[in-house]
Amino acid sequence: MAVASLGIANSNGDIQPGFHSVSETQPLIETTDHGAPHAAVCPYCALLCDDLVIAPKRDLSFTITRNGCRRAGQDYARAPLANTPRIAGREATLEQAIRAAAKLFKRARQPLFGGLATDVDGMRAVIDLAERCGAVLDHAHGEPLAAMARVLQTRGWFATTLSEVRNRADLVLMVGVDLADRYENLARRCLRPAQALDDATLAARRVIYLGSTPPGALVADCESMKCANEALVDVLHALLAALKQQAPAATRVGGLPAARITALADSLRASRYSAIAFAPGRLSAPRDPALALLCEIVDELNRATRAALLPLGGDDGGQTAVSTCAWLTGYPLRIRHGQQIDYQPHSNATAKLLADGSADALLWIDAYGRLGELPAAARLEHSVVLSASDNARAATAAVFIPIGTPGLDHAARLVRTDAVVSLSLPAQRDSGLPAVAPVLRAIEAAL
């Protein structure tokens, strides 16, 4: 269909605004029977591509007619949920569901607010409700987010942002990213854009991939250094040693010839501005050694030339949750909120609190409908689920409240992967589904 065939391969980087491109793209649209195609900001990953053109369909789903990616195409193709809250699987009114949720949180000794796939206003409401209930806060992608926080708190890093990479980098090293899985539009928007501030930089740009899933045709002229993701720590270690002009300790590292790693080090050193893109969520656990090496490599390069990291992560509202929590509470999630804030990033982890049974109530928020089933250890009779997807388990939780998706069913503000840019997304359809914030405010009022 049109979605898949357009966005991905269309790396010509044509940057005409959405409305201009309507006439060109209309013939390609399968069903545009519910209004004209229009510009949109995609909420479905932390790149927040703001140049999509989407065409509404009769069932309130959308077809992406321009600048989409495979993943966004699937997400936009989902029709909104029926607006039917449930209590223990049985239909209920929103008011009844809110009262039931309040009752559950009021009784709980240790509520856990997990998932947290929402927007800024949703997080503001999450944090206020958590303060009332003494709840722990963790995101569905809490493990990689916490790993990044640890690196920040122990050594820090030198980072860059999407537009900077697009215009400045003459070498981009992608470490362990899987563009076929996510961030596909990084190719069109940053790695191989049609234009950049300096044509010579763009023309000279090399893109080198290191890891287990080379992007193949998704990135034109991408040089591949294929190795298992589990071997990345060894390879990065060897790369750092090569940058420090140390002789290689072995002839092959992670299946790669040492000479290849030395050549990469030489290229990085010769580069005027290199960007190292990585996705913390794609690194094998424990992530800290690889993260520390990436930071050290950039530090080493910055002694004589310029280099910076481009972290790719914080999908499903993850970066939004971290940033909002940090400004409102001082900490990047994994706090227990209440009369005092208790930051325990190790013990305030979703998996741990569910596994050892110390969380006796769960609020699970999945406003993008992409998190899949509830965590297996979650006890349904203790769970309040606010979701844009009615997975089997979710729909039979103690309380299930269908909610809208930020930037589709309601206006929203979201923070991008680089934690610098945030975007304001208007509503795109009238599904009647509520946003997270008002539902949580109502629960708070009913406590």
Binding site: I15, P17, A39, V41, D50, D51, R124, D128, E131, A149, L152, Q153, R155, G156, W157, F158, A159, T160, T161, L162, S163, E164, R166, N167, R168, R189, C190, A194, Q195, A196, L197, R272, Y273, N302, T305, R306, A308, V322, S323, A326, W327, L328, T329, G330, Y331, P332, H337, G338, Q339, Q340, I341, Y343, R413, V415, A419, V420, V421, S422, L423, S424
Partner: protein, 555 residues
């Protein structure tokens, strides 16, 4: 209509209206100051304030309270927060933070010190939305921000291509509108950008290697644009060579380069260093103060340092990279940002026995005491870069109490004390002068009508202090703080959570620049122009926030 309130018997310090310690009654009605009722009408509520000092609510015109680098500092420093947790009993919401407080904690603490308005001085256009969301979540105080230009590739290209002054002016005006800003800030003009091209320093007349443009070119282009647009606050300048020994000459050259154009030099303490002495580090405060005293077009804030732990947060990635060697604890974050600017966040501990730190402390105080005109100097620590804003009462005591100052001077590194002229400076600030520094002058400089003033008709932003010889104690815990006529703080404790107004300017401009900007953003940036722009309703934020658009007076 709210009932008439009378504040009787206090000594009034209201320099905006020339009132210096007069015993006078104040009346508040409907949130504003009103004249004494002529009909003999009794006040519904009267406060007997004999022995008290009244000033307008205080204004901090340079404090890093919101935006990406502030948030990085928060996340980076759990150790800063652990010792300073604030419970939900103490404040309306639990919080934490000393150098990098949570937004709510910052708002409560400012109010508890009698402040009613705070201005974030380094908002990046690319990060403006987040900065405003953070400020929206900062209760109690009014706020605003100065938007950063001068390292963005758009402006540097325009200057390289010798685009007209009107083009630059339109771009500056568009940026002020799009970012919902109150003024324009420049940080290390061209230097942040040059760092992306691997330049490690950039002097006033040195070319940025990417564009062949000098800091002088950038300063003049922006200062002229701000003047022509008629923005009340002049160009807010964080100059070249921050922290570099010998930089007092750069600062003097910058003042000369401005050639009479109005400008505000910020955290000048960090830009007043000489190279004399065995350690090649000395005070240039006397030369700077002399130049400021002669150049009436220049105002400054000091950026006083205080001893202890803090974190330095700056857009100046070039200088923060250099400073990262001194990070304490050993961690720091640097960023290149969106062809727009950069940032560096470096935790730091100023030590009173360290020669350089001790002399920095003395240099800041020398500036305060040697600049003659209190209307052109503002009381700041460049929160949190010199020290957290909670140290203001201590700083006020240092300025008002010579014997206290000399006691402190006796505790610092003796070589630094000997290298400073501080001991010979007898000046003690009066309450009237403190009211100028912290109220009347910043309000005037920012063009905040009604603020920093106790005139009839002004919004009733009022701080009531118990007069106390110990000025630190006096200024730490005001007895009452009124905002818009409402009591928000009693005895140094927040009693009412209120939400402030955001102050902005919306200068007019030739809309034809939008086409070129559309083109630029679409070709080169990863955000569309219209998606970067903040709508007025985003500031109103569902009704909790409010927007005040201040007039501009084009030249």
């Amino acid at each position: 209509m709210s009932a008439l309130i009378k504040l009787s018997g206090a000594r009034i310090y209201d320099p905006a209206n020339g009132v210096d310690g007069e015993l006078r009654d104040l009346y508040i009605e409907d949130g504003v100051l009103v004249a004494p009722p002529r009909d003999g009408r009794k006040a519904a509520q009267e406060f007997d304030l004999k022995g008290r000092v009244i000033m307008a609510g205080a204004i901090d015109l340079h404090t890093h309270i919101g935006g990406g680098k502030v948030n990085i500092a928060r996340m980076m420093l759990p150790e800063d927060h652990a010792a300073t947790l604030v419970s939900g009993d103490r404040h309306p919401h639990a919080g934490c933070g000393h150098a990098a407080p949570a937004t709510r904690t910052a708002g409560y603490r400012y109010a508890e010190m009698g402040y009613v308005a705070c201005f974030e001085p380094a908002m990046l256009p690319a990060n403006a939305r987040q900065a405003h969301m953070e400020m929206a979540d900062t209760p109690m105080v009014d706020k605003g921000a100065y938007v950063l230009l001068g390292n963005d590739d758009f402006l540097l290209r325009a200057l390289r291509d010798k685009r007209s002054a009107s083009f630059v002016r339109d771009y500056v005006a568009w940026t002020l509108n799009a970012a919902q800003a109150l003024a324009i800030k420049v940080v290390n003009p061209g230097g942040i950008n040059a760092f992306k091209f691997n330049q490690r320093k950039l002097d006033l007349d040195e070319q940025n290697s990417g564009y062949g443009v000098t800091p002088r070119d950038i300063l003049l282009a922006l200062a002229n644009a701000v003047r022509e647009l008629g923005v009340a606050h002049p160009l807010h300048i964080h100059g070249c060579n921050l922290g570099v020994p010998g930089n007092f000459e750069t600062t003097l050259d910058t003042i000369k380069a401005l050639d009479g154009l109005r400008a505000h030099l910020t955290h000048v303490q960090f830009h007043s260093y000489g190279t004399e002495g065995d350690r090649k580090f000395s005070s240039g405060a006397a030369q700077i103060a002399e130049a400021v005293n002669h150049h009436k077009n220049i105002s400054l804030d000091v950026g006083q340092i205080m001893f202890g732990r803090t974190v330095t947060e700056s857009g100046d990635s070039m200088r923060q990279y250099a400073g990262s060697a001194f990070a304490d604890p050993k961690k720091w974050v640097g960023m290149d940002i969106e062809c727009d600017a950069g940032c560096g966040v470096v935790p730091f501990r100023y030590r009173h026995q360290n020669f350089v730190n001790a002399l920095q402390w003395a240099i800041g105080l020398e500036l305060f005491l040697k600049v003659d005109d209190p209307w052109r100097i503002f009381l700041t620590t460049d929160h949190p870069n010199g020290a957290p804003f909670t140290s203001y009462p201590h700083l006020i005591r240092l300025l008002m109490d010579k014997s206290f100052r000399n006691d402190m001077l006796a505790t610092i590194n003796p070589e630094a004390a000997a290298a400073s002229t501080l001991a010979s400076l007898d000046r003690e600030y009066s309450l009237y002068e403190i009211a100028i520094l912290t109220r009347a002058a910043p309000a005037r400089s920012l063009g905040l009508q009604g603020f920093g003033s106790l005139a009839v008709g002004a919004p009733a932003h009022i701080t009531v202090y118990r007069d106390d010889e110990d000025r630190q104690k006096m200024f730490s815990t005001p007895e009452l703080v009124f905002k818009n006529g409402q009591i928000i703080v009693r005895d140094g404790r927040v009693v009412e959570e209120v939400w402030g107004t955001t102050h902005v300017v919306h200068p007019d401009y030739d809309r034809s620049i939008e086409r070129e900007l559309d083109h630029y953003f679409e070709r080169y940036m990863t955000v569309r122009k219209d998606n970067q722009r903040l709508a007025d309703d985003e500031i109103r934020d569902g009704g909790r926030g409010a927007l005040k658009v201040h007039a501009t007076r084009p030249a």
